[in-house]
Every structure is written in structure tokens, then in C-alpha cells.
């Protein structure tokens, strides 16, 4: 694995190169530039640091109850991490709910370790000042599904229902701009400024490649970001109020997007602009 310094140096290089590229060529989109960076660091991704941090957190005794998360059941039995993410969201009997990875981790951190929900959900995303444990744990768990095909089952009626509700939330227009996810993500081949927009509802390939590359290391932010973060920031751009972390609305939307990605190999954590 490379050092953080190497990544930073390469990043500076590609960023300065990309600004001159903007001036020179009319059609260099952000996706093209990120592809350049990806080639440069071919054998690595700064998200690996977050995966390692997450693995340590998973195995470390923590919280008021001073236990690790190794008894946490992500759907394939207590402590089974391998391949768990590629089958999530799924229905969990103990909570009687459909849960995505992040809401499930929240359950384990509260029930097993004794944290309160509020202390985790107050600031669930990392900032320059503070890392986020639940976010690092997420990065670790998803890394254990790399190369495994997405297979989210809708056999359970509650998962099927979550999928249907998620689809409706995807098309739910509101706010001062009348935007829905579908405003930006239901047409193939369009972009906002230079950012390519995947068609998440009518293009299987787009839906698969978008979903299977999140969580991702965001080059522009120097942070590894989870899927809950991705949804949160798109709701911001949609001029919506903030979705509550790991809420039923976000899990339903994730179920719709995850099922749409079924059949593709999971490739996260990814690398993004």
C-alpha cells in the first residue's frame, strides 16, 4: 500500500493538469479527469486507510458495554462480514425492519455496545475536524464485498414494499425548484456543468456502475464517503430539507437503487471526483 503522501502528490498533479485541460479541450468532463487519477494510482485507493480504521473499530471493545462488533449480525450470521453488503438492504427479524448497512450498524452499536442513537446520528459524516466511526465501519464492511455480485432479494414483502416506496421517493418532486432525484438522474447522457449524471431509473448499466462504486473516496473532499452521505448531499442539491440519518426514507431509496444494481459485481470502495 502506498503512503498518504504519495496520494496527495499525485492528486495535486492531476488537479493542476486538469485545470489546464479545461481551458484546452471543450469536452473533458469530470469523469474523464477522475479516470486519469485512477490510472495514476492504479493499484490503490486512499479509502484503504478508512477500511483499515474501520476494521480496527469492528474488532475493538467499545462503548459503555465494552464489547466489539464481532457479534453484530449483518444478515449472514453474527460476525459474518464477507459478502454481507452485497445482500443489503435486507429484512431483519430482531428489529422487524428493512435495514441498509448504516442503519444496521447503528442497531449493533446501540444494542451491543450501548451507545445512544443520538450520539451516533448527531454527526454521522466525517469532517476535516473529526473522523466518523460509523462511516469507517461502513467502509470496512463494504470492502468485504468487493468482487461479489449484488444480490438484494425482494422476496420478503417488506423489502418489496421498501423498493416500491424508494421508487416513489426517487420521483418525489418538491421544494423551491420542484426537483426530484429523477430531474437529474432519469435521462441517459446528460450532465450538470461538467459532472456526468448517471441515469439511475431507466439505464441498468448506469444504475449498476453508480451503486457499486459507493462508498467512495472523494478526491475533492479528501474523505471517504458512505452511501448515506451520497443521498444526503444529493438531497441538498435538490433543495430539500435534510433526510434523517438511516431513516426509513433513506433506506427505502437505497433499497430501490441497490435492487437496480443487482447482478453487477460490487466494486467499492470507489474513487470519485
Amino acid at each position: 500500500m502506498r503512503t498518504k503522501q504519495t496520494y496527495k502528490a499525485l492528486l495535486l498533479l492531476v488537479l493542476s493538469a486538469s485545470f489546464s485541460a479545461v481551458a484546452a479541450e471543450a469536452t473533458v468532463t469530470d469523469s474523464d479527469r477522475i479516470e486519469q487519477y485512477r490510472e495514476m494510482i492504479s493499484d490503490g485507493n486512499p479509502a484503504e486507510f478508512d477500511e483499515m480504521r474501520g476494521e480496527e473499530l469492528w474488532k475493538k471493545a467499545a462503548g459503555p458495554n465494552k464489547v466489539s462488533l464481532e457479534q453484530c449480525d449483518l444478515g449472514k450470521g453474527a460476525g459474518v462480514v464477507k459478502g454481507a453488503y452485497s445482500e443489503m438492504p435486507r429484512f431483519f427479524k430482531d428489529t422487524n425492519k428493512v435495514q441498509d448497512l448504516e442503519s444496521r450498524l447503528l442497531t449493533c452499536m446501540t444494542t451491543l455496545q450501548g451507545f445512544t442513537e443520538d450520539e451516533i446520528t448527531a454527526k454521522p459524516f466525517a469532517s476535516d475536524k473529526k473522523q466518523s466511526d460509523i462511516s469507517s465501519l461502513t467502509t470496512y464492511v463494504v470492502g468485504q464485498s468487493k468482487g461479489i455480485k449484488m444480490a438484494v432479494s425482494t422476496k420478503h414483502p417488506k423489502v418489496k414494499e421498501a423498493y416500491e416506496i424508494g421508487k416513489r421517493i426517487f420521483n418525489y418532486r418538491a421544494g423551491p425548484y420542484d426537483f426530484a432525484c429523477s430531474t437529474c438522474h432519469a435521462t441517459t447522457g446528460v450532465r450538470i456543468r461538467m459532472q456526468d449524471l448517471p441515469n439511475l431509473s431507466h439505464n441498468k448499466k448506469d444504475a449498476q456502475s453508480a451503486y457499486t462504486t459507493w462508498p467512495a473516496y472523494r478526491v475533492s473532499q479528501g474523505q471517504t464517503r458512505s452511501f448515506q452521505w451520497r443521498l444526503n448531499d444529493c438531497f441538498r442539491q435538490q433543495r430539500f430539507p435534510e433526510p434523517k440519518f438511516a431513516s426509513e426514507a433513506t433506506v427505502a431509496l437505497t433499497t430501490f437503487l441497490a435492487v437496480s444494481a443487482n447482478g453487477a459485481e460490487f466494486a467499492g470502495p470507489g474513487l470519485k471526483r
Binding site: R168, D178, A249
Partner: protein
């Protein structure tokens, strides 16, 4: 009827209800309930923003493919909201219009109350040949005035489009800048000039 039989009938009925395929209308209602519960105020973006007006609700329900009658009815309603300038003038300053078209600021929870919202036009449209970082959700407006002219009729048309895009296409992806109070009358005039003034970079 004996109590035991009653009981078992109720249980069976309840089970049947739970097992019944959930109908589309139920799912719509459930979605609305979840959305109302699961969003919260953040900065200037208040939770009440998820409440839909009639048009937003219809476009969501029909996923932007409205039955023709409903579409016509909603478009007529939207057209009625348009307030044309009292002074009868539509053309402002294209330079100020270009700045507004460039600005994607405004209305998100990370914007401050004192931030002046921009027009976001370049996010979705090509406008001048100088700006290559343009979006493609909307059609290219390059040479708009050159191609469509710049007389009173087209000025009025562009003003109306910006004020309330839904008057001409109920489920268009373009925001209703005047109707929603995003842009002021003076700002919309500056944008009309950006599209129509022969000196504007759009027409050069």
C-alpha cells in the same frame, strides 16, 4: 356466534389484510407519510419544503407523464400565476444576466439567508460559446436571439418561461423562478436581455 369463533375470524381477517398485495394508492400514501416524518430543518431548508403543491404532486404521481386533460388544466393554472412587469419593459442588462446565469448559488441548506440565489442557467443550458462548462438537462440556448429574433413577442415569451416554465410544460425540469420567488423581476429582465440582446455573448 361464540367468542372463540369470532376471535379466530378476526385473526384470519387481520392476516388476510396483512398479506394482501399492497395497492399503489396505499404505497403513495405511505410514501407521503414517510417523507413527512423523515426530513428535518437544516439551515434555510425547512422540513415543510417536502409539502407538495398540486403540480408537484401530480408530476410525482404520474412520473412526469400526465394525462392530457390534467396537463392542460395545470398549465393553464400555472400561466395565471405569471406577473408581467408593470412598466411593460422586458429587457434589462445582459451583463448582470450573465452573472446570474453563471451562479448556481442558492436555496440549499448550505446557503446562508443573505446569499442571493443565482439562476443556475449554465447548470442545465449551453448559453454562450465562451463558457464550455455547461450542463445538458435543458436544450442549448446558444444564439437564442439570433435564431428567434428579439421583438416584443419573444421578449414576453422568454420572460414567461423564466417566471413559470410549467405554464408551457407542466412537468418540465426547469424551476419556476418567478413563481417560487427565486429571482426578482429585475433579475428576470436581465436574463431576458442575456438571451435576446444582440450584444450579449449568447448571440455573438
Amino acid at each position: 356466534m361464540n367468542a372463540k369463533l369470532m376471535m379466530s375470524m378476526t385473526v384470519t381477517a387481520a392476516l388476510a389484510l396483512a398479506m394482501a398485495p399492497v395497492q399503489a394508492a396505499d404505497l403513495d400514501a405511505k410514501t407521503a407519510e414517510i417523507v413527512k416524518r423523515d426530513f428535518r430543518d437544516k439551515g434555510i431548508a425547512k422540513a415543510t419544503r417536502v409539502n407538495q403543491d398540486e403540480l408537484q404532486a401530480a408530476c410525482s404521481k404520474y412520473v412526469d407523464k400526465l394525462p392530457p386533460k390534467l396537463k392542460a388544466k395545470l398549465e393553464a393554472k400555472e400561466a395565471e400565476t405569471i406577473k408581467f412587469p408593470a412598466d411593460g419593459k422586458f429587457m434589462g442588462d445582459w451583463k448582470a444576466g450573465e452573472k446570474l446565469a453563471q451562479s448556481g448559488k442558492g436555496m440549499t441548506w448550505s446557503d446562508k439567508p443573505e446569499d442571493v440565489p443565482g439562476g443556475n442557467c449554465y447548470n442545465c443550458h449551453q448559453l454562450s460559446s465562451k463558457e464550455i462548462a455547461y450542463g445538458t438537462i435543458g436544450p442549448s440556448l446558444l444564439n437564442f436571439g439570433k435564431v428567434r429574433g428579439n421583438g416584443e413577442d419573444i421578449q414576453r415569451y422568454v420572460y414567461a418561461r423564466i417566471y413559470n416554465a410549467k405554464a408551457s410544460n407542466a412537468c418540465a425540469n426547469m424551476p419556476r423562478f418567478g413563481h417560487m420567488g427565486i429571482l426578482t423581476e429585475a433579475q428576470m429582465k436581465d436574463l431576458v436581455a442575456l438571451l435576446l440582446d444582440p450584444e450579449s455573448p449568447v448571440n455573438k
